[in-house]
Symmetry: C2
Subunit: 551 residues, 2 copies
């Protein structure tokens, strides 16, 4: 039996982020992207969500390379965690590799991993695969799509992209995609992030115009916040500042790091003297000052947050400051962003944050752009990627509206395995895939039980009941002592505390009368009685933790 | 010295919800609205946020009445909690009072409180105040504004409103507002919810057209979810269903309650036979079925949630169901709504949810409508209400753009006290105002300490260290025992548990060697050593709770 090409998305489906896809043929395997996801509000205390790498560690010997489309966290953030478990060369463009290098340095892995830098047009051989880098537009410099020649046909992987005909770095290489389409494409895997939106995503150049409107006739200090990774945006801020004779200072660690990398690699063209230290900026007149800051997502402790809440060491917001939020809130961050905006208004700042002002554009293709890609690539099979279920389904309908047979479209889940010949695409047995939680330095040691407990503790707090029982006859020697945290304000609830002690004591005594000597049974009795009593009197359900010590 | 009119907003400023404002003159006081706020994501385990009523309970003797603009939760939700502490008649329109009555029944207060029902145009005397009910448009039936004649002049209080010239119930009474404006208005207090949005809010009648488009040519079952309180919307669904020969069943407790009240009071006109039981609906052909459901905000356990996640006892979503979400997500609910939509898509449902489809309109006035109100009322003083800081500031700028002197505009905080004569408006000493948390049946017993502990527990869980020490010489008799919850998966971390026991034991022994016999000092030593050790090894910071018992 001939080998089949396996396409296995290990992440990025039914979720936003954590993008990772495997291509496998015989004894060869490549991975495309390796991103992190961000914890949702139920994942108490979790810092990051990374993919389950079981399938990759089991097949480590087959691994011929990791290919990375661009340097956003949801595409590179899990690389250090993967590289702790397997080793293979990483292939990316210069900017992408610059950002990966930062991560590897943080995890002290930079010497252990081979980073190979390529340009659009390059073709990399990895086992039986040939991976071609194709230039695309996106909200980060140096993003690419991949065309992977496999023994059964060409697979195109768009990565995150948009079509920006007036992009400074040049339009996405539609010609090459069209050429590949003419030659015949077996499968297309495309970004679904903006598939709900009709029309086109505006050009990044629109933002430069929006920024100019805000700088023109502004006699005050200007503070701009945006995504630290968007060097096109930063370049536009710098050029606008230069045009109006303003100097620029940068605040916020990630922004400083990104700008440093981009500048070293030549992705940011800065006239000497434009960027100054925050301290030097302050000696200039107000209308000669620009600050570029982190905090566009309302992040706690970001530079903008600290400025708004008076905890920034060098900058205080003063009345009249014009603050430009050149970003939109990622779903889930709306409230945090509002909170900062409110605080800035309270300080008398002039905050510009509406999309209508043309101060932000998305980096992802809307419906009409996606249709162009489908029209050019004309794949035999289509697997929508990057998106929650509704987006995948809408992308499937979009492909159908372009004439695609619904039977040639596969809505995948993380771990789905599609087996392709040159003519067929079948659903194989799924592989292990899932979410692994990172909390502090721990990877995978927080799971569903721990999260369930954290949720319980968060809702109603906890009550510890300590008691010493006689080893001889189960009589109470000391206690029960009741300690609570996150349950109730104890100093004003002494009566309730006394009642709880009584209820616990009665439960223990009842066990003794019934000659119950099994401690877990006594603990259950304490727990049940207390929780029943508490629910009746307070309609609350704190976690109850009986601790029995034997003397 | 002549008396002054005091205007005191106790809630609704720098927040969305919890609206309540006090008017006071000499020995008379009235309250306008008494709403709840909803907990933000930091208020772990809190069910509701109500205003601090201290100022009202201290002045209970002055209280001449509570006047309610409309029946939304953020305007009526705290009434039962206020009525447990003071007593005064409540004045509202029929629909508003119907909803207040439901609340009072739930809290067994219905016999203790006098509910007085009025119509637009009615004028109610309350001490030295005369309160006139003025018809406005909003997303709930029977909403009113108030014009309050006080000894120093007329104060207009818009409540929540929009200008809907094609509303079925008739347009907001602009004529009366204009007449009052011509007679002279001392102060205007107006809704700021939509002040960030340019233009006009579309008419509710646009939604009826949108619904018709969705019903036309649909051969499947239709499920509509919307805010349970919007009877105009429900009426439109019923009429559209009738037009297409469909029967309608209702699911979800709040929706059932609301429809019952609205029907009894004549706010919903239903042809007999249109509404049927869910059971009866099922025997009809698919294209004759409509279900109206709760869940438009993605609420856990709402009817739509249960249908989507297969836990609804009577309805399963099947492929082809058309689900119309006639609502927009309130900030903070976006993810919950997405989650349901994704699940509905997964079941093969056809979900219609985009604003662009004309399936929802706001109930609040946008900028152009607000300008009309300012232009008609032409108040001497203006206090923007209902909104976060940025909205209040933008509303102030809007009033200034209409020619108002910025010195006649007051941006209030909760508890601000404005003292007005016929000619002046001064800022007086603020009164007690704030947030009181409701958790279960407890009102106010959860405060900042409890919430801080809940947050700590939610982030990293907790570790209880139990030890019995000899009363004689502080020697360890039993223990230390280590119990954790929400920290780490213990079964896979036995080594760490052993280490923690060692660290705790060493701390205790060190204290004994130093002859430290103060238990709080021993507890501190255990806590410090463990937390230092944990941070070093895991970068986590669980709550550590040492429990020492003396034998």
């Amino acid at each position: 039996m001939a080998e089949k090409l396996k396409i296995i998305p290990l992440g990025g489906l039914d979720e936003i982020g954590k993008n990772i896809t495997v291509l496998e043929y015989g004894k060869d395997m490549i991975v495309i992207d390796c991103g992190v996801g961000f914890p949702d509000e139920e994942m108490y205390g979790v810092d990051l969500v990374i993919p389950d790498f079981a399938y990759l560690t089991q097949n480590a010997k087959k691994l011929r390379g990791l290919f990375v489309t661009h340097g956003h966290e949801d595409h590179i953030g899990s690389i250090p965690y993967l590289m702790q478990q397997v080793n293979c060369p990483i292939h990316g463009t210069a900017m992408t590799n610059g950002l990966i290098r930062l991560k590897l340095e943080e995890h002290r892995l930079v010497d252990a991993v081979k980073l190979v830098t390529h340009k659009p047009g390059d073709v990399v051989k990895a086992g039986c695969f040939q991976v071609e880098f194709i230039h695309v537009n996106h909200s980060i410099a140096d993003a690419v799509a991949f065309a992977v020649k496999t023994p059964v046909g060409t697979v195109i992987f768009t990565g995150d992209f948009k079509i920006d005909p007036t992009a400074k770095e040049g339009m996405i290489d539609l010609a090459r995609l069209g050429q590949l389409g003419s030659e015949g494409v077996l499968a297309l895997m495309a970004d679904s992030t903006n598939v709900e939106r009709p029309g086109y995503t505006p050009s990044e150049s629109k933002v430069a115009e929006g920024l100019d409107r805000q700088f023109k006739n502004c006699d005050n200090r200007i503070i701009v916040t945006t995504f630290a990774s968007n060097m096109y945006r930063i370049q536009a801020v710098l050029e606008t500042a230069q045009r109006y004779g303003r100097k620029v200072a940068v605040t916020g660690r990630s922004m400083e790091n990104m700008i440093k990398v981009a500048q070293e690699l030549g992705y940011l063209k800065i006239k000497s003297g434009t960027i100054v230290e925050l301290g030097a900026l302050k000696s200039l007149p107000k209308n000669k000052q620009v600050i570029i800051s982190t905090g566009s997502q309302g992040e706690n402790m970001s530079a903008l947050y600290r400025m708004a809440f008076n905890t920034h060491k060098q900058v205080d917001i003063v009345s009249g400051d014009r603050i430009i939020i050149s970003a939109s809130a990622i779903p889930g961050n709306e409230k945090a962003v509002s909170r900062i905006i409110n605080e800035l208004y309270r300080k008398g700042a002039d905050v510009v944050y509406e999309k209508s002002e043309g101060l932000h554009v998305s980096g992802h293709a809307c419906q009409e752009e996606l249709k162009i890609i489908h029209g050019l690539v004309r794949p035999k099979f289509f697997i929508p990627l990057h998106g929650e279920q509704r987006m995948l389904q809408i992308h499937s309908k979009l492909a159908q509206s372009m004439g695609m047979n619904p039977r040639n479209i596969q809505i995948a889940e993380n771990g789905s395995c599609f087996e392709l010949t040159g003519k067929t695409c079948k659903v194989g047995a799924p592989v292990t895939a899932g979410k692994v939680f990172v909390d502090g330095t721990g990877v995978g040691d927080v799971g569903s039980v721990v999260l369930r407990d954290r949720k319980h503790l968060a809702q109603d707090g906890m009550i510890v009941v300590c008691v010493n029982l006689s080893a001889e006859d189960g009589e109470v020697i000391t206690g029960p002592d009741i300690i609570t945290r996150g349950f109730i304000y104890v100093k004003e609830s002494e009566e309730l505390m006394d009642e709880l002690r009584e209820v616990a004591l009665e439960a223990i005594e009842r066990c003794r009368r019934k000659r119950v000597r099994d401690w877990s049974a006594i603990k259950s009795a304490i727990k049940n009685d207390l929780s029943g009593y508490l629910y009746k009197t307070t309609k609350r359900n704190p976690m109850i933790l009986p601790v029995i010590m034997e003397i």
